[in-house]
Structures are given as structure tokens and as C-alpha cells.
């Protein structure tokens, strides 16, 4: 309740004491509280980034792949980063986009898993629940104009059900039997769809691995911010396994025959 008659009937802005109603020490404070507060900024640009993440459903579960690169603009800065993270015993999250935001997401997910564990009620979070949680967070952040600059794939296997879905910095979500982020959504998605769609329930793990390798190869050839070292995460009834780094065999000998770029004109 406003006890000051001079304020009655007048429009109110609590952030600014227009009529000096309160002595200086009681007026609302609008200055930065500390050096950090003065530096708080919102909408950003991603700095250290990861490129595409691929995901597909196969007979026994889901498979996800991401290369081991974190780029600093056009510089291939960190070449041994794991962009796939297991969450609990039945989910894996793969991230493209800003890597520091992904590290923050990893911390959040870890906190979520520990909190679920401490309740000891026999329940574990399902992949769908983790995806929904991330979607809520991502959308809330974008609505505050302070996004976590990532595109995430969430995949898992629980109670006989396979789950694969996407969520990004805008809070957009979608689900399909094949998904890809970044350049993968342009270059790899057609390949994935051709190979997987309609055959999700008969595709074996080995076949899925072949498809992934082929897509990663295409991406390495065409995506200028990719790397030929990648990891594959597989989630089945047995749990989450993230493979060791695999190397792509590529052939660049065609480069000899290129004419019209550089010194050789004919």
C-alpha cells in the first residue's frame, strides 16, 4: 500500500522515484551492483562451436554420431572434444553450436540426474523426459533473449521404446527416425532418410554404423568446419555406449585434377 497521498492517482514506475518520495538511501537502485552486473550481456554469438550431429533409429535402439572438433571460427581449435554425452543409463545428448553452452547444459543434466537418483524411488528419467526438460530450458532462455546457442539431439531407449528428438536454441523441437543438426540437416539427412526410412525395425546395428560412416564421410568432404575423427553413441536395452574415436578414410587425390582455381589454369 502506498501511504503517500502525493503518489495517488499518478502513474507508477517503481524503478525510478520521480518525486523524491523516499530519501536517497531508500530509492530503488538501478546502477550495476558489481563489476559483473555491469558486464552482463544477452544475445550472443557462438564462439567455440561444434558442427553437425547425426542420429538414427535402428532395430535395437538408436545411434548418434558427432565429430571430435570444436572450431574457433574457421580455426580447427580443439580436435579431441566429445560432443556426445550419456545422461543416466538410457539417454544420450549430442550437441552442435556453442561448446561452452553445451558444457553448461552437461552440468545441468548432471544435476538433474543426481536429483533423480537421490529420491531413490525406483524411477529413472526417460529420454522423452530429458528432451522435454531441455526443450523447456532452451525455450525459456530464448524468451529471455539469452539463448543457449546449441542444436541438440536427444536419443534413448527405455521400456522397449526408441526415442530420438531435436531441440535447438529457439526452443524448436521435432522428432523423426533420422535427424541431423547443422550441415548434416542439409547433406546427411537425405542419405539417412533414403537408407533408414521404412526400415527402422529391420536395420541392424552394423548397417546403421555403415550409414553413419558414409554420412560422416560426406560431411567431412563438404563441411569446411568438420573433422575426420568422430565418435558413435549407441543406446540399446543394454544401456549407453560411446565408442572410441574413429577415423575416416578419405581420398583427396581428385584435387590434383582441379583446374581453374589457383595457379594451374589448364
Amino acid at each position: 500500500m502506498d501511504h503517500f497521498p502525493t503518489n495517488w492517482g499518478r502513474p507508477r514506475n517503481d524503478a525510478f522515484d520521480a518525486y523524491g518520495t523516499h530519501p536517497i538511501h531508500q530509492r530503488p537502485v538501478n546502477t550495476p551492483k558489481d563489476a559483473f552486473d555491469a558486464g552482463v550481456q544477452r544475445t550472443q554469438q557462438p564462439i567455440v562451436t561444434g558442427t553437425s550431429v547425426l542420429g538414427l533409429k535402428f532395430k535395437d535402439g538408436i545411434m548418434m554420431a558427432a565429430d571430435n572438433l570444436a572450431s574457433y571460427g574457421s580455426l580447427a581449435r580443439f580436435k579431441d572434444i566429445q560432443r556426445l554425452q550419456g545422461v543416466g543409463t538410457n539417454t544420450v545428448v549430442g550437441a552442435g553450436g556453442d561448446m561452452s553452452d553445451f558444457q553448461y547444459i552437461q552440468r545441468m543434466l548432471d544435476e538433474l540426474v543426481v536429483n533423480e537418483f537421490t529420491s531413490q524411488d525406483g524411477h529413472t528419467l526417460s529420454p522423452a523426459e530429458i528432451h522435454e526438460y531441455l526443450a523447456q530450458v532452451m525455450y525459456a532462455r530464448r524468451s529471455k533473449m539469452n539463448p543457449l546457442w546449441n542444436s541438440l539431439l536427444v536419443g534413448g531407449f527405455k521400456d522397449g521404446e526408441r526415442f530420438l528428438a531435436y531441440v535447438d536454441l529457439l526452443g524448436t523441437t521435432y522428432s523423426a527416425s533420422t535427424l541431423a543438426t547443422g550441415y548434416g540437416s542439409m547433406l546427411a539427412q537425405p542419405l539417412l532418410r533414403k537408407a533408414v526410412e521404412g526400415r527402422e525395425d529391420t536395420l541392424t546395428e552394423e548397417e546403421a554404423r555403415q550409414i553413419i560412416e558414409e554420412c560422416m564421410r560426406v560431411l567431412f568432404y563438404r563441411d569446411a568446419r568438420s573433422l575426420d575423427k568422430y565418435q558413435v553413441a549407441t543406446v540399446t536395452a543394454e544401456g549407453v555406449t560411446i565408442s572410441d574415436t574413429q577415423f575416416l578414410k578419405t581420398s583427396w587425390s581428385f584435387a590434383e585434377g582441379i583446374r581453374g582455381y589457383g595457379a594451374q589454369t589448364q
Partner: protein, 247 residues
Amino acid sequence: MTSIGTGYDLSASTYSPDGRIFQVEYAGKAVENSGTAIGLKVKDGIVFAVEKLVHSKLLVPHANRRIQTIDRHIGLTTSGLLADGRHISNRARDEASNYRETYNSPPPLKAVADRLGLYVQAYTLYSSVRPFGISTILGAVDNTGPALYVIEPSGVFFGYNGAAVGKGRQLAKTELEKLKLSELTTREAVYEAARIIYLVHDDAKEKEFELEMSWIGTESNNLHVHVPEDLFKDAEAKAKAALETFE
């Protein structure tokens, strides 16, 4: 046994002439009248066992947990006012979670025990709040190995190899002292803990009780979980059998 406070026992902010705070001592009484809880620190982990006094046949068996999980690798059990026990568990979870956030590392038990001890002590300073009527046993397997602490209502806490709080603590402590704790495995300790709880349970006072046990160790991947069903049943059966032969 009862010492009359005669006016010095009305609030926690009053000392008695002989330097005691009666409210804190009375809180200890609440602990002494409650079901026993024990903790064992052994070679490769920690084992908790609790005598859950069942006050009604209508209660769902294996519900109403006395042993709480604080973090992946930390367990907590209390004896005394159970509602205070739940409050302390929540606080411990917050402290552990806060440690993780600040240091990006699972909290060592010493840090959590320290924070909880400080918290419990804070409630012994003011007349506007009452001290916690619980003794808390904290156990974990952290980067320094297995650790076990007990926090009393006064806020004081110590590290132990074996701990017992509650009604049957005297007998339990005697039994624990007989064991060579540093040489036992967690599996062996489970059997010993079950046996001790069955031993200290006073059939004359309370007929029905439920045993609850949890462990942290190599067999549980250093996670704090309830003892697996088959081991639990076996330990319980052996404990009952040992009781027959004890008399």
C-alpha cells in the same frame, strides 16, 4: 535419570549455572528414545542399517524410508524426530548440490558433514527455534576412500569407523567394537549389521520392526543404494537365526 532444568531449560539461548544448555540435551533425549540406526565403515565401503519401528500394521512395508540418498556416493540416516530427519536430508542434498556447482566435483564427505554440523549448530543459538531432535549418520565413499560421520543435536560431529545412534546404541556400540571393521568387506558387513540390529531390538518394548539396509562400495559401483533383495533376505534370515543361538 531426568535432570530437572528448573527454569534454565526453557530456551536454547539460556545456559544453566553449570554451563549446560538443557534444550540441546533434551533434544538428545528425543534421539535416545527412537529406533536404532548404525553405520559401519569397512575396507571397501560403508553399510547402514536401521531398526524401523512399525507403529501400525496398516503401514505399507518398505515404504517410509529412514535412509536417504544425498548424492550419488553419499548416504544419510537419522535417529530421532523423523520429520527433522527429512529436513536435514533436504539440506544435505542442497549442500552437496551447491558444492558440485561451485567446485564441479562430487563433494567429499568431510565438506558435507562440516556444512551440516554448522547448520545444526545454528539452531542451538536462538530461543526462537528449537534444536534438531536427531543424530545424523553420514556415510560416503569419496576420493579419500570410505568415510563415516555422526552429527549430534548440538552440532558437534566426529568421524567414526563404526557408529550407532538411538535406543539400542549402547549394545550396538559394544557389538561394533568387537568387529575388526577395517578387515571386513561390505558384503560381510551387511550380515554383521543385520545381526546387530536384530540383537538390539527390544521385543518387550516394541513388537514390530522392519530392517532397512543400504550400502556404498565396490559392489554397488560406489553408488549409495539399498542392499539388493537377495543379499538382504539372506542377511535377515541369518540375523534371525543368530538371535536364536545368542540366548
